[in-house]
C-alpha cells in the first residue's frame, strides 16, 4: 500500500507491504540506518523515533500506521552543518561508548526536554527509562541530558 508521511521534515511517499515495520522501512528501504534494532520487542529503545514529537519504538509500529503522520529520526535532527544541542551534549559529556543505543537516547532526550526544559533527576529517569545502555552505566547519560538542557537554554 502507498503511504504519505513527513520524514525528517520532508514529504515522503512510499509503497510498503502491510506487515512491514517502521524500522524495516527506515533501515532497509530508505537507508536511514541511524535507527537501530536491538531487541525487536519494545524493551531496549534503540529503535526510538519521534512520532508527532513523541518517542515510540519503531520496532512495534507498522510502516502503514505512520500514514499522514510526522516522523523524526536521528538523521533529521541536525540543521545543515550544525548538530542539535542534544547531539552536542552527548558528545561533549562523552556519554557515547559503542554508540548502539545513542540515537535512541538522543531522541528520547530531545522529546523529554521539549516537554520539560528543566527536568529533575527523577523526571530524567522516567524520561529515559525506555532506553537501555550496556556500556556507560547511565551516569554520563544523566550528565548529557543536563548539559543538553543548559545548551538549549543558552540558545534561546
Amino acid at each position: 500500500m502507498k503511504i504519505k508521511f513527513i520524514l525528517n521534515g520532508k514529504k515522503t511517499v512510499v509503497d510498503v507491504p502491510g506487515g512491514m515495520r517502521l524500522i524495516d522501512l527506515l533501515r532497509e528501504k530508505l537507508n536511514l540506518t541511524g535507527t537501530r534494532e536491538g531487541c525487536g520487542k519494545g524493551e531496549c529503545g534503540a529503535c526510538t523515533v519521534l512520532l508527532d514529537g513523541k518517542p515510540v519504538n519503531s520496532c512495534l509500529i507498522l510502516a502503514a500506521q505512520v500514514d499522514g503522520r510526522d516522523i523524526l529520526t536521528i538523521e533529521g535532527l541536525q540543521k545543515g552543518d550544525s548538530l542539535d544541542p542534544v547531539q552536542r551534549a552527548y558528545i561533549d559529556t562523552a556519554a557515547v561508548q559503542c554508540g548502539f543505543c545513542t540515537s535512541g537516547f538522543i531522541l528520547a532526550t530531545k522529546s523529554l526536554l521539549n516537554e520539560n526544559p528543566d527536568p529533575l533527576d527523577e523526571e530524567i529517569k522516567r524520561g529515559i527509562a525506555g532506553n537501555l545502555c550496556r556500556c556507560t552505566g547511565y551516569a554520563k547519560i544523566f550528565d548529557a541530558v543536563k548539559t543538553a538542557a543548559e545548551y538549549i537554554k543558552e540558545e534561546n
Binding site: P17, G19, G45, L60, L62, A64, Q65, A108, K125, A129
Partner: protein, 293 residues
Amino acid sequence: MIPEIEYIKETELDLALQHLASDKKVIPFAGGTDVLIELRKSKNPFDRKALLDVKGLGLNDIYIHSDTVIIGAASTHTEVEDNEIIKSKLPVLTKASSLIGSKQIRNRGTIGGNIINASPCADTVPALLLYDAQIVIRSLSEDRTVPLSEFITSPYETVLQKDELVTEIRAFPVAEDYGWGYYKLGRRGAVNISRMTVAALMKVDGEGKINEIRVSAGSVFPITSRISDVEKMLVGEKPKAEIFRRAGEIAAEKMIETSGRRWSTPYKESVVKELIVRVLNEAYSRCKNDDLS
C-alpha cells in the same frame, strides 16, 4: 517484517465491524505492543491474516457523563495518565497507567489493549476493578456491556468474540473522602511486566472505623480480581497495623487456596502479605476525615 499480512484501516465503526464479521481471519489491534510481538513470534507466519487498526476509529475520548467516566478503548496510557478528569476522579488509574512500561510503550499501548490482552499482570485491571469498571462491546448484530470482573475468563482469555470490538470502558468514581493506594512490584527496573500489583480504596467513618473498602490484586490469583474475603473482614474495623496484617494473611491464604502450593509460594506468600499491608496503609493515609486528628 511480519510476512504476508494485510493492513486495514477504517474510520467508521460499522465498516470495521464488517471486516470482523467476514470469514477472513482479521485481528483488531490498537497500539500493537502486544499483538505485533505475538505475530512475530507466531510459529505460523504464513497463515495469512489481516490486521485491523482500531486507532483509525478515534475511540480515544475521555469524558464524564452523569457521574460515569467514559474512556475510549483506544486511549493510550499517556492520554489516560495526563487526563485531568481521570486524575481527579480515578486517581488509582492515573497511577497504574503512569507505571506501565516506558514512555515509548505508554505512547502507543492502549487501555483497551491492556484489558483485552488479559495478561495476569495487566496493570490497569486492578485499578479499574476498584471502580467497578464495565466494558462496552459492539458488533454488527449486538451491543453489550460486561462488568470487567466477568470480562476476563482465564489468563489471556476474555468473553470477546471474533466479530466484536471494545469501544469504551466505563468507570464509576467514589466520593472524595476515600483514600487510595496502588502498589506495583516489578522484577526489573523501569520496563517491566509487573509481577504483583495491589490496589485499594478505603473510606473511614466518623468513629474512625472502616466504612467501605475495596481491595484488588493482579498476578496473585489466576485472574486479577477483588479480594472479597479481605474486604469483608476489614469493614467495621479500626484501621490498625494488626488488622492490616490479618488482611495480608487472609489474602495469602486465599492465594494458596486458589493456586495451590508451588515452588514460588513461600516467596509470594510473604510478598502478598507485605504488599497488602502497604497498600492499606497508603490508602488509610489518604483518607480524609475531619473527625480524625
